[in-house]
Amino acid sequence: MASTQDGKVAEMNMLARIRRIPFWSWFWFILGALYFILPLYATLKFSLGMERDVIGFKAYGRAFEDPEFLSTFLYSNVLALMTIIASIVLIVPTAYWIRLRLPEARRIVEFITLLPFVVPAIILVFGLIRIYSSPINVPFTEMTLLQPLTTFEVGTDILIVAGYVVLGLPYMYRSVDTGMRTVDVRTLTEAAQSLGASWFTIIVRVILPNIRAALLSGALLTFAIVVGEVTLASFLGVPTFGPYLFLLGQHRAYEPAALSFASFLLTWAAMGLIQLFTGGQGQVSGAH
């Protein structure tokens, strides 16, 4: 009885709080929400209308049945995973060292991480092809240091992952740096050092767990970029999900819409995972 009354009181309090929100706050909130939701709704509605006068999932069935879909999607996922690992290995120690020992280098590194916004992907891919499509020799000798990476599958995969690391750099670096700002990196490092920990142990057991949420955010953004990326994959001739979706869109109408909507769902699922891992706080438990 008491709990029912408590529930009613809580509900009334919430309604009172909602009523107190000014009109213009509601106006801008609804406008913003519509801006995001309407295209999604349109895509969903279109993808469900493959059969005349019937709302159904036929487009989804067709899209998922295509063996090309599964192979390209899995391939993109593997590349995304590789990109995320490479990004973490490259960026976490860099951001950590800058915060710990080289704060004066932060501006330079931040500028470098912003370069992907300035240099388009098309320029990047041409640069990669230009340099890595011919053997690289040891300077001033005829000795080959590196075979042309574009001539074999693993080489091309390395190239595209490297390209994706560059494209994801602004997002991953900022996420990691913001994460490190929320913990006292210097003192935690010194505490761990005084307890006998090596640099590797400090990064793996102290720093990484405390920036878990930031890493997940960066990884999610990188994942989204890699899975939908078209330019690098097309020019390097790698069969990923982006070019597949692009080609599908040129020949079919409903299936690309279905796959686009499915991609959105996938992104939301990833965001849900972040909430799950971080307890909805955007930070690890304990990092207060």
Binding site: Q193, S194, L195, A197, R212, S285
Partner: protein, 353 residues
């Protein structure tokens, strides 16, 4: 040979000398405090012992071994930080066991040691909690247990009580001292709080602008300050300009009022400008029995401070504070009243101007 020896240590950051020719020998089991204002070099000295800073010159020996250039994780030194520095992703037990896990101790040993340490700091019920679920005092106790779990050769405490409220500070400092005594561990404690240093230390190193001003027991530091800085920094002090009038008898004159000092006039000549300093608690109202240093004064102000009543008196042209213990039967004079105050010869410190 002493257990920890800091010899001729100097630390420079660019052109700035932060610690200048620091020399200190610490015996095993001793509790030494570095006391001084902000920027005096006390934390830098501590960080050099911890290995977080490398001295520009000089040597640091621990139990006979040269650790001057050793990495922090290669020294067996425990450190406690002002901000606790507990790992937020680990529970109390995991924090305490971290150093032992790094050393790859067997799990049984780790568990036994963690239980022992949790018991030592009386946090048995909180072993599975995360740091954010603990109060500041509890967090600092965990930090202490974590540092002690590794059985360090020296325990370094960098202003560990500064972030805590006054009551917790007092109880925790007693707890730290009791644990240090029971384990017989050598400890260096950095603080800018003179009361903290006086209450907890075997010896105090008073530092100023990178140099050691005085090293001594709390009793020596408080009662026999060797420099004006130490006299001013440790405890409250009344100071005033004075002039030596008879070095042999220890007589000095302040605005025409004569004081007799037990020490401090040796080596000075008549007419030397000096400062005289008297601690507020060494002044009292003159009674029939007391004949030395009886001077006239006017009551200027009376402040009730709880256990102490602070009476401001004007002697000559100088205003001095006089502290007297509060009791319900204390008869306080009226403001503006003419009285006589006195102090012993030993209470009058003669310092350089």
């Amino acid at each position: 040979m002493s257990y920890l020896s800091i010899s001729n240590v100097t630390k420079q950051f660019g052109d700035t000398v932060v610690v200048d020719n620091f020399n200190l020998d610490v015996e095993k089991g001793e509790f030494v405090s570095f006391l001084g204002p902000s920027g005096c070099g006390k934390t830098t000295t501590l960080r050099m012992v911890a290995g977080f800073e490398i001295p520009t010159s000089g040597k640091i020996l621990l139990d006979g071994a040269d650790i001057t250039d050793k990495a922090p994780n290669q020294r067996n030194v425990g450190m406690i930080f002002q901000s606790y520095a507990l790992f937020p992703n680990m529970t109390v037990a995991q924090n305490i066991g971290f150093g032992l896990r790094v050393r790859k101790e067997p799990e049984d040993t780790i568990k036994q040691r963690v239980d022992e340490m949790v018991g030592l700091i009386n946090l048995e019920k909180h072993a599975d909690k995360y740091p954010y679920q603990l109060s500041g005092g509890q967090q600092q106790r965990v930090s202490l247990a974590r540092a002690l779990a590794n059985r360090p050769q020296v325990l370094l405490l960098d202003e560990p009580l500064s972030a805590l409220d006054a009551k917790i500070r007092v109880s925790l400092r007693a707890e730290i001292r009791a644990i240090q005594r029971s384990l017989g561990i050598t400890a260096i404690f950095v603080t800018h709080d003179q009361e903290e240093a006086l209450s907890i230390s075997d010896r105090i190193v008073v530092m100023n602008t990178g140099e050691m001003e005085q090293v001594g027991t709390p009793f020596e530091i408080y009662n026999f300050p060797k420099t004006r800085f130490v006299a001013n920094f440790v405890g409250s002090l009344n100071t005033s300009d004075a002039e030596v009038i008879d070095p042999a008898k220890g007589l000095v004159s302040m605005d025409g009022v004569q004081f007799e000092a037990a020490e401090g006039t040796n080596g000075r000549t008549k007419g030397d400008k000096v400062k005289i300093a008297i601690r507020p608690e060494r002044l009292s109202f003159a009674s029939e029995q007391k004949k030395a240093n009886v001077v006239d004064c006017t009551i200027e102000n009376i402040t009730f401070l709880g256990s102490v009543v602070r009476i401001q008196v004007k002697i000559g042209n100088s205003k001095f504070n006089m502290d007297t213990f509060n009791n319900p039967f204390l008869e306080l004079p009226k403001i503006g009243a003419k009285e006589q105050v006195t102090c012993s010869k030993e209470a009058v410190l003669v310092l350089d101007e």
